[in-house]
Amino acid sequence: MSDEKKLAIIATKGSLDWAYPPFILASTAAALGYETEIFFTFYGLQLLKKNLDLEVTPLGNPGMPMPMGMDKWFPVLGLALPGMQGMMTGMMKKKMASKGIADLAELRELCQEAEVKLIACQMTVDLFEMNTTEFIDGIEYAGAARFFEFAGQSDICLYI
């Protein structure tokens, strides 16, 4: 056991917006000298796919800032129209790029370079019959007990 500080994160969400917090926090913690592990479970496993094809949805999210006053034109049900999610995703990606926000794949790569351990929940892989060849290399497949082995000694533990 080292005296390095430790950060343990559980990543449970698989949308474009929620993909950022785990990778931003993990890469920053690693830069600050934390030993860091992220345990990906349920929809969080989408963040481990080689092809990060994530989307953002305004549905059920009244806090999401809408561009060009769209919230005034569209009643809530309008947000469920076909194509709306794709459009919102496109707008979000454009905005992120224009503000110099890190590309998700780049951030994930920086995490791996900094030796952040990425652990995929084996149970979720089995449950959704996920194809592990679609996942990036260098990840570990394990269960809850494996998470606690590290989380039990962590200084900070986050559920995202």
Binding site: A31, G33, G100, I101, A102, L110
Partner: protein, 76 residues
């Protein structure tokens, strides 16, 4: 501004990229060498302070020049 050994232009990059790039650059430098960083992210002012506090690298200078933020960090 004092002399420096290496320079990193993190202009246009947003949190946490300036810190990550700085850390990566420092990794390749010898102890005692000085890194000059240029950033446009206003959050980087507090972030580089916190980075120095937590990593032991010394923040020798932090200033705003013409809308950009400049830092001198000495590698521990």
């Amino acid at each position: 501004m004092a002399d420096f050994d290496q320079e990193l232009d993190a202009s246009g990059l947003n949190c946490p990229l300036p810190i990550l790039r700085a850390k990566k650059t420092l990794n390749g430098m010898e102890s005692g060498k000085i890194l000059h960083i240029i950033a446009t992210d206003p959050g980087s002012v507090k972030d580089f302070e916190a980075f120095a506090n937590q990593t032991g690298n010394e923040l020798m200078e932090s200033k705003e020049v013409g809308g950009k933020f400049e830092f001198l960090i000495k590698k521990v």
